[in-house]
Homo-oligomer: 304 residues x 2
């Protein structure tokens, strides 16, 4: 069972096709769900994947175009009907918060749970942090204000090397301190560094969600060497001019970003309906970067 995985619920672009749903992805970090964008039908996608509504506490909107938002009222309403309790936080721009509050006030008043908002800006910022995750925004270049999100698991404590711990006679009361990096002083005065008493921690994984956007080479360093990079690839290189004009990227540009930020894997998506074969995107991207995954509805990418 993966502890860090991404579920694709919708990977089409704005114009619907029989093949693709509008944008929605769900990051699963140790059974906590983080939704990125909420296109129409998102609640259907969750249901089909068996992802539990009460595990979803955060929804991050990249921007306020309908194909990234229109699933939200239905999802919020359904959560109420299912008797959800506690609270959910929607992270978006101030103008979206005003609009969503009006829609929720009209259609989803009297919910048994609380809907909170976190106002974000189109800037570099850490917008959320807890013991498990750190989430930061990267401003993108679309026709309206838009951000990418980078999800980074917090560093985890090292594991005790029980053979070394027993050999040096570390008392149980010090296990936690040792895992956090403290050294151990033996009765004879000898200091044993934590590195000699522990093994490397379980890896901390990372996911960057970059879209909708024109290609911005300069953000590669900000994204960093993530384990999985989603970068929108609405077009193929043959339509690069259209991509630039519409605030989108080509599959080749997505691959260049994966190569330049040092990503381990690249996930493509947000396919324009003008192409009949999604495989063309991956084929184009692989000319630049080898480890490419084509998004499709229902796909789960297990990162770790």
């Amino acid at each position: 069972m993966a502890t860090f995985s991404l579920n694709v619920l919708g990977c089409g672009s704005a114009k619907p096709t029989p093949e693709h749903m509008p944008s929605c992805s769900v990051l699963n970090v140790r059974d906590s769900l983080y939704m990125i964008d909420c296109g129409e039908g998102a609640q259907l996608g969750l249901r089909r994947k068996g992802l539990k509504l009460n595990r979803l506490n955060h929804i991050f909107l990249t921007h306020l175009h309908g194909d990234h938002v229109f699933g939200l009222p239905g999802l919020l309403g359904t959560m109420g009907l299912m008797g959800r309790e506690g609270h959910i936080t929607i992270h978006t721009f101030e103008s979206g918060i005003r609009m969503l509050k009006e829609i929720i006030g009209y259609f989803c008043s009297d919910m048994p749970y609380e809907i909170r908002f976190n106002a974000i800006k189109a800037e570099r910022a850490v917008i959320y942090e807890d013991v498990r995750l750190r989430i930061r925004t990267i401003p993108l270049k679309h026709r309206v204000p838009c951000v990418g999100y980078v999800f980074e698991e917090q560093p985890k404590p090292r594991h005790l090397d029980m053979a070394a711990v027993n050999f040096h006679g570390v008392p149980r009361s010090m296990y936690s301190a040792i895992k956090s990096g403290e050294s151990f002083q033996k009765e004879n005065g000898l200091i044993i560094p934590a590195s000699a008493l522990t093994k490397p921690p379980t890896p901390s994984y990372s996911y960057a969600h970059i879209g909708d956007t024109s290609y911005i080479p300069a953000i590669a360093d900000e994204i960093g060497p993530v384990d999985l990079l989603y970068h929108e690839s609405t077009y193929l290189t043959q339509h690069e001019a259209d991509a630039k004009k519409r605030g989108h990227s080509t599959a080749r540009q997505a691959a260049m970003m994966a190569r330049d930020c040092g990503a381990k894997q690249l996930l493509l998506g947000h396919y324009s309906s003008r192409y009949k074969d999604d495989c063309l995107f991956a084929a184009e991207a692989r000319e630049v970067f080898p480890n490419v995954i084509s998004a499709r509805e229902g796909l789960t990418v297990n990162v770790g």
Copy 2:
């Protein structure tokens, strides 16, 4: 090819299930489409049924609960992306118009077509009429203001009986007048009534859409002997108290309405997710009224 048919795009109730989409129906009258309610996923249902967006000029909302409305922004946005021209009219209550205008203003500004609104009230009224159809509202009894809609084809002209027309020597210039009911005076003074020169017209069909509502026996006469009656049947008789409390009806009550208004066929729908087998609704209804159809997504009922 039917000239009057009803397409079921969604027949679930508010709480989604893997089997049912939220409320949406589309009446097809000689290739003009009239949508009744627009639950989330309506545009998906249209696409799956091959119903063309540019044939849809009117959307009628029964009431302003999310499961009857949340598909509207996506549908309107998609129409814009598809380059639709002309105008579409949304028929709903004043408060809904205000809300929808805000949503449209925010998410669907700059559409290449015009979105018009027709303010209706929860009262008996003819709300729309053209050469083809007459549409009237019937106030229903739900938790919020709600109306049913009766769609009646206008009476059609009688067909010429060409044998009689030729026998009496009716000139071609009088054909239209004869079809409209004028009599014909022969040169010898003899008057031939239109009924002797014509055959009965193509039938004019009718459809009534009644839901969401508690059972209101008194509206049977207002509905009249329609060719097809949709009457919501959210519950079975065993939960009649819940139905009344929540402003809904049972399958048995829907059947009583069909019997009492003189409908030819009854279409059931808006099934509560608490029942595992939709066939239970039809079975209960058939104890009262024989000609029952169970709604399911994608069903087309050909009336004429």
